[in-house]
Amino acid sequence: MTATAEQGGAGAAGPVLRTRGLTKRFPGVLALDGVDFDLSHGEVHALVGENGAGKSTLIKVLTGVYAPDGGEMRYRGEAVRFDAPLRAQQAGISTIYQEVNLIPLLSVARNLFLGREPRRFGLIDFARMHSEAAGILRDYGVDVDVTRPLQGLSMGARQMVALARAVVADARVVIMDEPTSSLEPREVETLFSVIGGLRERGITVVYVSHRLDELYRICDRVTVLRDGRVVHTGALADLDRLGLISLMLGRDAKEVERQGATTFGGPHERRAEEPVLVADGLRDRRRLHGVSLAIRPGEVLGLGGLLGSGRTETARAIAGAMPLRSGRITVAGVPLRRRSTAAAIAAGVSMLPEDRKSEGIIPELSVRENIALAAMPRLSRFGLVSERRIDRVVDVFVERLRIKSAGTRQKVAELSGGNQQKVLLARWLALDPKVLLLDEPTRGIDVGAKAEVQRLVDELAAEGLGVLLISSDLEELIEGADRVVVLKDGAVVDELSGEEVSEGALMRAIAAGDGDAAATDAAAEAAEEGSAGAEGVR
């Protein structure tokens, strides 16, 4: 997708949105420091920066969630100040948030029209609402029963509903915060087509993403934020990737180049041939249909596949967090008899869950408590906790993982995403595991923290841990893993090792047999499960 005529400057009608010297202060932090931000009509504008650079704050100020402490904002030529999200929406600025903000229990149609339902005699006209909703969503490639609760939809379909909702609301500016983070490749394609359509209609899109590939595919211009300040604005085509990364990090481009896109080193030396973990024929009621894999000490085994292929379920099954119908798991030669997380932990299996907010951190507890939590039994004697031992362990990991906090007594909720992830890693490492299961360890964390986590995975493998790495980021799998097992529909379809692990090979493996045949499979599966409204994004 090439840049359009509006690129690089204001369109004929001037910028649709312009801020000057926008400032927002939180206790102890200057989140936005004199931000000048211009949006032209019908452009797709990338907003990038590391976590904590101020992207979210800027979005929230633009959309009326936060009131700015200083500076001015002009929208369609007039000075504005939105005191509530509703005001910004009414003016035509809509946001699609990272975690899709819709209401799961309400029907799809009601989510789409909430606040502007079609009326008849003052009451909501459901017949019209449903037919209009179905028509609109079909245009977004979502073909579902709109009277069903939204919670039955896939994440991709939900995102499309959110987008459709914004456009129905007559949006002039649509802000998308990490829209593809939970989408499958096909859904991403649909999203990009829809974004293309918005651009043609003169709707401005602000696109926030950590995925550089996507930015270069669809964005016209870019604004780079760092530490609450704009460090660069301009056409994206004039800026190469290294230049962009170095602007985001505030580091020299050459240094970035030397380090590569990820910080993984080369292949890991395998210490022993005896696998530390063997999973054999894992099956459950719906998602897993016989997954077998083995990890040797000192090896990083990548687990590839599409969303829903059973990657997370495999890891959860190994960690004892999911009931299985059949299958055997052996850790260091000893079969796991009892299927529970406690048994898995005792055997030396630790898992870093995908959703660190809901399954990982305990936000109100301190860094120290979060780290020591799982290791409590090992840190106590006769049931009493030894404060000194906790401190020792916590200090070791805070230093080793370079966890940045105002002190180990700070609440984890106040840390950045990357540091939260490191706290979780520390929690599991404190257990001295033999096998570490990492489910999307770098999702949603900033470039700097990502590099550190990747480096750490390398180090841990070098120390002899068996690591299972799940990632949707192909680069991460390719550079980080020694071998990659590819899953599809809950079964292993391919295994790549050594030189075979390349982007092309991986894509082919993931896509293998993934055509009409797979579609029929899925349809059959859907029919089997008796799903009346087979929802999906086309």
Partner: protein
């Protein structure tokens, strides 16, 4: 829309446009439509099915259960709790709880009885005004000061109790509704054999049902209960919606208390204690989720009827202490919540 239509067409025409469908089916929330509808049927109509079964059993085993007198007795007995349960339904759908309605009900009764010496209008206006204010206070503290509904309404529950004691001179004074009050026949008499309070309940629930299902206000209640943050970002006036729900709850509890006092002919000070728990039970048994975001008023009505029928049956069976009614109601409540839990877990596909 035209531009988007064309792009969407091209989106649909992507290579392998068909297979894209399976993305949704296999996605984490893809399947489960079939389970969902079965679960939804039980959630929506479970209480009604149980009520029908209980009525059938009662009709077969208890003589005179289906007599007009007994049915009217049940209906009128259920009328005042039902009015409270209606307000409670609104509150619970927003994801909140209102513990104050019991003592608010008692307070309204005493206020109505006291004010009835100044006429029917005063007998209604005073309790409605005071109770509406208490409800609004609940709402403001919960929505604006962001205090937990449990704590706020616990506090106003105690406050309303104290007010009631103050008005009734520590509970020693029982105000009597004077004979010949214009309001009295409108509460005590019947129209076509049906007590006026029962008719009022039917009207209130009809209006409440339409308001909940078919107005923007109703949609906002569901949205706030379903996901408060999302609702705020979707432009729903969250605070106003909550305040309206709690105000209505207070107002309806006040109305029920006032009418109850007129019906009894006096402001009985101990009447209504614990009724908030009956109301909550009825709402939950009726299929409304305590977590908020899902529910309907007809279920609450069925829930109230169910609890009252059970009470009536237990009273009808000689030799059984009426205390057993609470045991049965409690068991019912647990059964319903267990069933809801099980079904919603199946719906999510775990």
């Amino acid at each position: 829309m035209t531009a988007v239509k064309s792009t969407a067409a091209s989106a649909t025409g992507l290579p392998g446009g068909g297979p894209g469908r399976k993305g949704g089916v296999r996605g984490p929330f893809g399947a489960g439509g079939g389970d969902g509808s079965a679960a939804e049927f039980v959630q929506r109509h479970g209480a009604l099915v149980v009520l029908a079964a209980v009525l059938a059993v009662a009709a077969l085993t208890i003589d005179g259960f289906f007599s007009v007198g007994n049915l009217n007795h049940i209906a009128v007995g259920a009328a005042f709790p039902a009015i409270i349960a209606l307000g409670m339904t609104f509150v619970i759908i927003t994801g909140g709880i209102d513990l104050s309605v019991g003592t608010v009900f008692a307070l309204a009764g005493v206020l109505a009885a006291w004010a009835s010496q100044y006429g029917s209008l005063a007998a209604l206006a005073l309790p409605l005004g005071v109770c509406g204010l208490i409800g609004a206070l609940n709402g403001v503290l919960i929505a604006k000061a962001r205090l937990a509904p449990f704590i706020v309404t616990l506090a106003t529950m105690l406050g309303a109790w104290g007010l009631m004691l103050a008005v009734s001179d520590e509970g020693s004074e029982t105000y009597v509704v004077p004979d010949g009050l214009a309001l009295t026949p409108m509460v005590q008499e019947r129209f076509l054999g049906i007590g006026y309070p029962v008719l009022l309940v039917l009207v209130l629930f009809a209006v409440g049902g339409v308001a909940l299902r078919r107005t923007g206000w109703g949609q906002n209640l569901y949205a706030v209960g379903g996901n408060e943050d999302a609702a705020a970002l979707m432009g729903v006036p969250v605070a106003r919606t909550k305040i309206s729900a709690y105000s209505l709850s207070g107002l309806l509890a006040g109305l029920a208390g006032a009418l109850n006092a007129v019906w009894l002919g006096s402001g009985v000070t101990i009447f209504g204690i614990g009724i908030e728990l009956d109301a909550i039970s009825a709402v939950v048994i009726g299929g409304t989720l305590l977590a908020g975001g899902y529910g309907f008023v007809s279920g609450s009505l069925v829930g109230v009827l169910l609890l009252n029928v059970i009470q009536n049956i237990i009273n009808g069976i000689g030799g059984l202490s009426s205390a057993f009614q609470q045991v049965v109601s409690g068991s019912f409540l647990i059964t319903v919540v267990l069933a809801q839990n099980y079904l919603s877990r199946r719906r999510e596909g775990n």
